[in-house]
């Protein structure tokens, strides 16, 4: 099996999807001629033509709005937003329109649109190239939200997303684009939406993360393991619908939880996880639920390394939780 980085895995998924279903169209800013500023769509226009892979005008509300219309017109749109920071002008089209179409039409219409976007920080990008605003999407029913943390999952989940009858917000931590590598089959396969993955197993603390923070937590978990603290490390992969079973069964076992995310603490998705646990597994808890998150400021440029949780900060939180 070839080794691919995250970008190559996504590119492979798009190639597969466009081969197997001619309704699939791929578009966004700089996506066609150039193959995307991160080159995720590299070669697609050349291979499948300008009607299947194309550049759009610079307008996110137009990209998502037209994607909805294309889906209604029988296509399978895979739209790219160049950075997650720039998805906000399309928020209305996503939350009020895309996510509601099936419901508000009484099931007559649906828009199986995939919106892909590079997210998260850690690249000294400042506020406008660092955000992970997944929580403003998990509060919206009708759209799935996924954020794979490795190339294998990225390809499998993207195939699942494109084949899904429901809209999917597909979040790609750009910091992993070139750094994450894995064996990835050339042929299409699905990783199911809605299923978490356990990356480490242990009985002391449950550590929950997604995206880049999975890598950070791997390091932290391995570091505390040397001190005899064994953790369940859960990579959620999908945020909506949440794999509640994976979360709750682990917490019932360990009684201790550390939730790690890049987004700011206030009303981040970690809050939902903590609330779920405090509602459904409270009696198992032997320590306060810890959240290790970005600070409640706008991600800065120079001081970016302070903003994001890093392995030592996570390891400390795990240790404190284990020792509590």
């Amino acid at each position: 099996m070839p080794v691919m980085n995250y970008i190559q895995a996504l590119n492979s998924a798009l190639n597969n999807a466009m081969e197997e279903d001619e309704r699939v169209v791929v578009f966004g800013e700089d996506v066609g001629r150039m193959g995307g500023v991160f080159r995720v769509t590299d070669g697609l226009q050349k291979r499948f033509g300008e009607k299947r892979c194309f550049d759009t005008p610079l307008c996110e509300q137009g990209i998502v709005g037209s994607a909805i219309g294309m889906a209604i017109g029988g296509l399978r749109p895979v739209a790219e937003i160049q950075f997650m920071d720039y998805i906000l002008p399309a928020y209305d089209q996503i939350a009020n329109e895309l996510a509601t179409l099936r419901y508000r039409s009484g099931g007559q219409y649906a828009a199986p649109v995939v919106v892909r976007t590079p997210c998260c920080g850690g690249i000294h990008g400042g506020h406008y190239h660092s955000q992970s605003t997944e929580a403003i999407f998990t509060s919206v029913p009708g759209i799935h939200v996924v954020m794979p943390s490795d190339p294998y999952d990225a390809k499998g989940l993207l195939i699942s997303a494109i084949r899904s009858e429901d809209p999917v917000l597909f979040l790609e931590p750009k910091k992993l684009y070139r750094s994450a590598k894995a064996e990835v089959p050339e042929s299409p396969y699905e990783v199911p939406i809605g299923k978490a993955k356990r990356l480490r197993e242990g009985e002391h603390v449950t550590v929950i993360a997604w995206g880049v923070m999975v890598k950070v937590c791997e390091k932290a978990v391995d570091a505390v393991a040397e001190k005899g603290i064994r953790c369940d490390l859960i990579d959620l992969r999908t945020l909506t619908p949440l794999d509640e079973e994976a979360v709750l069964s682990s917490v019932e076992k360990t009684g201790r939880v550390v939730i790690v995310h890049e987004a700011r603490r206030n009303t981040g998705y970690g809050a939902e996880l903590a609330a779920l646990i405090a509602e459904r597994a409270l009696l198992s808890l032997e320590a306060p639920i810890r959240r290790v998150t970005g600070f409640d400021v706008h991600c800065p440029f120079t001081l970016d390394p302070y903003f994001l949780p890093d392995p030592p900060r996570v390891a400390l939180a795990i240790e404190e939780t284990a020792r509590f």
Partner: protein, 373 residues
């Protein structure tokens, strides 16, 4: 930049000598006239229903019948329509039954949108009438996208996108028209400039001398027409649709018309516009104008006029009383259609609600929404 005069075939005064445009023979004209009348009756009845407290909201179409019926009549069945909440006439003309339209007003168990949306949010996949969102202008880039799909797939079909003068101020208007221009989408943008966006006159909506001129910002044609003239509406829309279907790209049509009634049942237009202005437009009434024309051509007589009116009343009354007799949707429908298949979370919530109802904690919804509810 001065405002251009709108195209017109049938002047308010008459125009008996005008030949109907291609596609409109006397029979067809009569059927359109009938639908305009049915629409006005439906409109009045719906307003009354709300006043009587039997439905909770309505946004009337009166005054805009020619724009709605004329444009919808120009559509082929395979064409896709994106209406707004005001386009009752488009639904009617595309073949939605009065009964189905009334079901939606009540949000009853037979409503095609399952009681999920407020009155005026009709949708019917069967009739290629896309779901309406209450959000102004959001359908515009969507309609561009559907027109793009039609073009990319080489379909012999077009998309018509309805919106008001107010909608032209939204960012989505810009997004939609720009995409349509760049991709030469099979989309016809049909703006009913009815002079008002709730209480704001079109002169405060834009400093441009017309809506039609805005097409020049997107590289395609903008046409201003008399929206109370059924003939010119039909002809202009038909030609634009044909152009779109044959790869000629989009057109923006500005139909000058007037919202004779309130914005909706929540509104009192006497607060912000003069009786004189209303009177001016009353003299341009689209139904009377067409009727005068049909009479002048000898295609309708007084007896027919009366019969059409009487039949319309009867049909509308029957549709409404049938719809009113139907109860609300079942509680479990609350959790359907969020996704293609319910998530485990939604399954749990469904069980929770049914359990609360069973235990009498939550009381069963037994009525469709009425005014003030």
């Amino acid at each position: 930049m001065t405002a251009v005069q709108p195209l017109q075939l049938l002047s308010p005064e008459g125009g008996a000598s005008v030949e109907p445009p291609e596609g409109l023979d006397p029979e067809r004209l009569l059927s359109l006239y009938r639908n305009m009348v049915r629409l006005r009756v439906f409109d009045r009845r719906a307003l009354n229903l709300q006043r009587q407290g039997r439905i909770n909201f309505y946004a009337p179409a009166s005054g805009q019948e020619a724009a709605m019926i004329g444009s919808a009549a120009a559509l082929e069945p395979q064409d896709v329509a994106y209406p707004t909440y005001r386009e009752s006439g488009v639904c009617l003309q595309r073949g939605m039954s009065l009964r189905t339209m009334a079901d939606q007003l009540f949000g009853n168990a037979r409503d095609l949108v399952k009681g999920r949306q407020m009155p005026n949010h009709w949708s019917s996949r069967e009739h290629n009438i896309v779901s309406i969102s209450s959000c102004i202008a959001t359908q515009i880039p969507q309609a561009a996208g559907t027109g793009m799909a039609q073009r990319f797939r080489g379909e012999n079909a077009a998309t018509i996108c309805y919106f008001g003068d107010g909608a032209t101020s939204e960012g989505d208007f810009h997004a939609g028209l720009n995409f349509a221009g760049v991709f030469r989408a099979n989309t016809v943008f049909f703006c009913q400039n009815n002079q008002w966006a709730i209480t704001v006159p079109v002169t405060r909506q834009t400093a441009a001398p017309s809506i039609a001129i805005k097409a020049s910002a997107y590289g395609f044609e903008g046409i201003r027409i008399d929206g109370n003239d059924l003939l010119v509406v039909y002809k202009t829309v038909r030609e634009a649709l044909e152009k779109a279907r044959s790869g000629g790209g989009p057109t923006l049509i500005e139909a000058l018309t007037y919202r004779m009634g309130p914005h909706s049942t929540s509104d009192d237009p006497r607060r912000y516009r003069t009786e004189q202005e209303v009177e001016t437009w009353r003299r341009r009434d689209p139904i009377e104008r067409l009727q005068r024309y049909l009479e002048a051509r000898g295609w309708i007589d007084a007896e027919q006029v009366e019969r059409i009116a009487a039949e319309a009343k009867e049909e509308v009354d029957r549709a409404i009383s049938e719809a009113e007799a139907v109860g609300p949707p079942e509680p479990e429908t609350l959790f359907e259609d969020v996704y293609a298949r319910p998530t485990p979370q939604l399954e749990r919530e469904r069980r929770e609600l049914l359990d609360l109802i069973r235990r009498g904690v939550v009381s069963r919804v037994t009525h469709t929404p009425i005014r003030g509810s």
